[in-house]
């Protein structure tokens, strides 16, 4: 094995572009491992962990690009580095040939783009607040996709936005639709009469895709960031978005997706919702939430129920929540899985790319499997045996791409969970849409197949968050998972319930599916 390094001084590239480059290099003949990263301290630490921190790499600064290749021979390592060079050159030539203008600062972009009204900011978190502040001062609405922005910065940015009547969506805002334009990670959904306010990206994606499946479309969808309804932020953007949607003639019904607000802001948000004069559905992802309808307001606890309640309300029907769309199929499959479950295999392993989808699964599993029985990295009450992991959480994404873009980490976790003798069910989400990986189901399917081959009776339960109009195609992605042996359900909530039925005690099955387990 030989390791070779290229260091390109002052050569900034974004993390997604670099992930694509590294992936390409790994396919080279004789290449064992390849890394292409900016030389930030966090990235250098990652390279050290991977045994790729060469002396040349150690000398890199945050704005220097480091490419390290480990290969069977020196010639193969050199060839891979030459390939990296030609890919980077090709990229530059392509941009130049397109005749596209390439401003280097936000200011010059605003001068060049007539009518600029939105800034989409996804620079590394440590630099994001400063760019957002500049954009607001230039009169632009901001979608702040970046995470790792401090609460202090968020509060100050939202105060500035409110002074100027602008939107500050985020931080960590994954998805929004303004005037029919999908921003960030967003599914291809039709325009329609439902306006949304969401503190969560994948939560919003689940709701709009289920609305689309039921023939309903989106007027506007505003992301507010996960901390908007906390005490310090005081729901600044939620209230702004509600005022805007309340007055919008294209919006006939409003859906709010979030966690329970801080006690201090709860009353304000509820009063504003009631004063809108439009029907509203609130998906409150939390424990011990009182569901039901009071006046124009319906409260539900899952993302699927939010979509279903909105559809029912628009159709003038009463909303009836259900555990499964197709009870007969569910009963049949659960029975089959329970009959073949290996001895001692009784645990659910939720391995998620979508943070809110993971949290929703946790909230569904806890009461079914026992509050103390579900662990993971989401503040679950218990230490196991069941586990739900949000693999997009900060601790997993420092220096590497989000699992919605790069499946490498999830593949590792699938392999790990499949080796644990008590694993009964692998529970996964697959998120489609603009911005997401080109074939997310295909990225994890081989690992799922291998897991099932290696362990008789291991169940794989999945849901696909997407629409037929998404670039990846909903039907094709579902089919890919089914070909790998997965049971694919219409929503994440149903997938979580299915997992609980397979791994849980008999009364869980009786409660959700009726009859005897």
């Amino acid at each position: 094995m030989t390791t070779r390094t290229t260091l390109k001084r002052s050569f900034y590239q974004d993390s997604v572009a670099l992930m694509g480059l590294a992936r390409e290099l790994r396919t080279g003949a004789g290449v064992g491992e390849a890394a292409a990263l900016m030389g930030t301290p966090a990235n250098l630490a990652l390279m050290a962990d991977a045994g790729l921190l060469t002396d040349e790499a150690r000398a890199a600064g945050p704005n220097d690009l480091v490419i390290v290749v480990r290969a069977d021979s020196a010639a193969e390592a050199e060839a891979a580095l030459a390939r990296a060079e030609s890919l980077l050159t090709a990229r530059r030539v392509r941009v130049e040939a397109s005749g596209r203008r390439c401003p280097r600062t936000l200011d010059s972009a605003v001068r060049q783009l007539q009518g600029a009204n939105v800034a989409l900011i996804s620079v590394p978190g440590a630099f994001a607040a400063a760019e957002a502040r500049k954009a607001l001062r230039r009169g632009l609405h901001v979608m702040l996709f970046s995470d790792n922005v401090t609460l202090e910065d968020e509060t100050a940015l939202k105060r500035l936005a409110v002074e100027r009547g602008l939107l500050l969506m985020g931080p960590d805002c994954g998805t929004a639709y303004l005037g029919g334009v999908p921003l960030g990670f967003a599914n291809a959904v039709p325009r329609g009469r439902i306006g949304l306010v969401a503190a969560s990206g994948t939560g919003l994606q689940q709701v709009v895709t289920l609305l689309a499946a039921a023939g309903e479309g989106v007027s506007q969808a505003i992301g507010v960031g996960g901390r908007d309804m906390s005490g310090p932020v005081g729901a600044a953007m939620t209230l702004a978005a509600l005022d805007a949607l309340g007055a919008d003639p294209a919006t006939e019904l409003i859906v709010v997706v979030g966690k329970p607000p801080a006690p201090a802001v709860r009353a304000t948000v509820e009063a504003r919702l009631r004063a809108l004069g439009k029907p509203a559905v609130v998906a409150m992802l939390g424990r011990e939430i009182a569901t039901g309808s009071v006046g124009p307001l319906t409260t539900v606890v899952t993302l699927e129920d939010a979509a279903a309640a909105a559809v029912a309300r628009r159709a003038g029907r009463a909303f009836e929540p259900h555990a499964f769309s197709n009870v007969a199929t569910a009963r049949h499959r659960v029975k089959e899985y329970r009959a073949t479950r290996g001895p001692g295999a009784a645990a659910v392993r939720g391995l998620y790319a979508g943070g809110t989808l993971a949290y929703e699964a946790l909230l569904i599993l806890e009461p079914l499997l026992g509050a103390g029985a579900v662990g993971g990295n989401l503040g679950g009450h218990g230490g196991g045996p069941h586990r739900v992991l949000d693999l997009g959480a900060d601790e997993y994404t420092v220096g590497r791409a989000h699992p919605m873009l790069d499946a490498a980490l999830r593949v590792e976790e699938i392999e790990r969970a499949a080796k644990e003798p008590d694993t009964a069910v692998l529970l996964v989400d697959v998120v489609l849409g603009h911005g997401a990986a080109p074939d997310p189901a295909g990225d994890i399917a081989p690992a799922l197949e291998a897991a099932r081959r290696g362990r008789r009776g291991l169940a794989v339960v999945a849901s696909v968050i997407g629409t037929a109009a998404d670039p990846q195609g909903l039907a094709a992605q579902r089919a890919r998972l089914e070909a790998a042996g997965a049971w694919v359900l219409p929503s994440n909530a149903q997938a979580a319930r299915a997992a609980a039925c397979i791994a849980g005690e008999a009364p869980v099955v009786e409660m959700l599916l009726g009859g005897r387990a």
Binding site: S10, Y12, D14, S15, V16, A17, T40, G61, P62, N63, C102, P103, R104, T105, L106, A109, V110, L113, G115, A116, N117, V118, A119, L120, I121, S122, V123, P124, A126, F127, A129, A130, E131, R133, K134, A135, R137, R138, L140, H141, F145, S146, V162, E163, R164, G165, L166, L178, G179, V181, L183, Q220, A240, A244, G246, A247, D248, A250, H434, G435
Partner: protein, 62 residues
Amino acid sequence: MADYRDLFARLGSEIHVVNLGLERFAETLEALGVPVLHVQWTPPAGGDPERARLLSLLEDDD
């Protein structure tokens, strides 16, 4: 406190996006026919977050 009730009227019928960071987002918008300009952004202050923060605070409030 500003009034948000006219937000979507102010936003107008066309969204024009300045994109900073992941170029993929600009490519998506371009493919959808949305006016977008991608900034060839590089971390300011040589990539030192603390120095960059201090620099941004020194900037004029337009």
